[in-house]
Amino acid sequence: MPENKNKKVSGAEAIMMSLLNEGVDTVFGYPGGAIMPAYDALYDYRDRIRHVLVRHEQGASHAAEGYARVTGKPGVCLVTSGPGATNLVTGIADAIMDSVPIVCITGQVHKKALGTDAFQETDVIGITIPITKWNYQITNAEEIPRIFAKAFQIARSGRPGPVLIDITKNAQIDTFDYAYERIESTRSYTIITRPQDSEVDQAASLLNNAKRPFILVGHGVLISRAEEELRLLAEKGDIPVASTLLGLSAFPADHPLFVGMLGMHGNYAPNVLTNEADVILAVGMRFDDRVTGDLASYAKQAKIIHIEIDPAEINKSVQAEVALLSDAKEGLRALLPKLETKQRNEWKDEFKRLTEQEQEKVIEAEVNPQSGEIKMGEVVRLLSEKTKGEAIIVADVGQHQMMAARYYQYMKPDSYIASGGLGTMGFGLPAALGAKLGAPSREVVAIVGDGGFQMTLQELGTIAQEGLPVKTIILNNNFLGMVRQWQELFFDNRYSFVHLDNPDFVKIAEAFRVQAERVENRNDLSAALDRMLKSQKAYLLDIKVENEQNVFPMVPAGASISDIRLE
């Protein structure tokens, strides 16, 4: 039952009631001095709000992101002032880059102590202004219902993003008459979600007259739940579809029109043919530099139609011929009836031809090696086959992240969760536990590197304490592999501080009461993956992979995407 009847409550209790009013049932947090009144109130709400005690506040922020990415609902963090708040910063910066709705609640010193360098006081509002969609400091209890309603509305609407609410201790303690009303818009915050008819007509005309149209899909398709509209549109126009890193899983990998991933370590055909297409329909993506490579030589021949909800993204990096300022779903829905049915076999054959080249030169050796050490790609492809492409893969950042993006065949939406814009090492494990809480019926597998794993491995403790059956695969090459690859290719093999002398990860997992095993031989790989997937509990595989393996294809930094290297 929503709690909105007038009732005299403390600010701390009002926080809990406001969370319930917004449909929150899971909170990732860590208690401390300035947030203790809120934690005291939470004690009485344990039956309605599941609080997950993380081992470090950064873990709470990434777990909230993982939760939000699979549920579409804002993930919530609850932490104390000072270091508790600053430890959230990496996750907040990650969330704004990748448009992830999270609401961070931070305790703050008493109103009278603000600005006095009080114990654990920090200017978290000042610190997070550049990395939040919105933030606000509550200094009076009466503000709580209105500010919470506004915070959740801002976090989840339009282009979603992180919001931070800082609450002074007195505002948690004082009592007031509680009443809650949800907010849909404010005077200065309105969102345009539907495109203009004239723009839709222009876009349809461009696509209908195109000889070589190409659809690029981003995270916006998943956020707006536009997967079905996208599929119908692509099929009607017989238009090839490629995805950005964060758009993966918006379009099924086995669909005949799916041509792979864009960008630096994306597939060969979609990169090369971006510079051959005559009309590009970009949906819910922002032409990140990892997608475009050198902007001066990016898709210069193409007329670009950009469907995008954030006006600041339109014409930011790439000039659009037609811009549909709208939600991805609304934009695609408007376009669909105006699109003509077409057959484009010649154009599709060009993709096939280049895909075959990549298959021969790169993919075959990566997923079906006959000898040598285990390859990262073969682990990912085998996992993909065993889970029928239906698991949620949560990647950390580095070579393994690209391998997980390239070689898992994503069949269901919201299945590839990774830190895209910020590239945050340490994201994987905590985001996986958040994803598992958000989607308990789905298999969740964290694929991490030996470097990133060691940045947040303490969250194994959270996974164990909460009894979450999160599966973890460490693709262990004893290197910070992506940096090593760059040093090999662009810095004359000078391996500057990229070797890791690792601990025994199996023993570490076991010390956290997480079952684990090490895999060193190809012959043991399949059975080990089976045991991991069969387990009803958390399980970790430390898989020793080829130490100096490189991820190809690759667009060298600053190069044109046409100059993508296959080897």
Binding site: I129, R187, Y189, A312, I314
Partner: protein, 164 residues
């Protein structure tokens, strides 16, 4: 390099704490220096108007404007070049005047250049000038030989020549 020139941004926002900080970080990220800034409440209750003058190229300033508009509290951002605007600033000059002769010379300059005499003391006079940046600068040069003891100027305030 695209050519840089002065742009004036009129930013309308909710009048709430922290908005100035939110605006300035957008400029700071791109290492743009704010040449002048004035803030006041407008004819609409609770709405503030920031007049911000920045030297930059046009492409950058249009992107900045969109990023400013993304701030939750911001209602609207308009970008103007000098030709599209009516704009003024105000300046105060404390000028040394230790003899009646000097004082009358300064009074003459003030009269010819439309400056107001605000205050007289045995050693100095205080003048006020409202006008364009160039007007303020010209008067400064004229007064300089007398000895300028103190000088302060406001930021630009501006409205568009054509509305809507």
């Amino acid at each position: 390099m695209p050519s840089e020139k002065l742009h004036t941004l009129s930013v309308f926002s909710e009048n709430s704490p922290g908005v100035l900080h939110r605006l300035t970080v957008i400029f700071t990220r791109r290492k743009l220096n704010i040449e002048s800034l004035t803030v006041s409440e407008t004819e609409r209750k609770g709405v503030s108007r920031f007049t911000i003058v920045v030297r930059s190229d046009e492409d950058t300033i249009l992107k900045v404007a969109k990023q400013l508009e993304r701030i939750i509290e911001v209602l609207q951002v308009n970008v103007f070049s000098n030709g599209e605007l009516l704009f003024k600033e105000i300046a105060l000059y404390r000028v040394a005047a230790d003899s009646p002769a000097k004082r009358s010379e300064i009074e003459e300059v003030a009269r010819r250049y439309g400056a107001q005499m605000l205050n007289l003391s045995p050693s100095a006079v205080v003048l006020e000038k409202t006008g364009s940046e160039d007007d303020v600068n010209s008067l400064y040069l004229l007064l300089e030989p007398f000895g300028i003891r103190e000088f302060v100027r406001s930021g630009r305030i501006a409205i568009a020549k054509n509305h809507g």
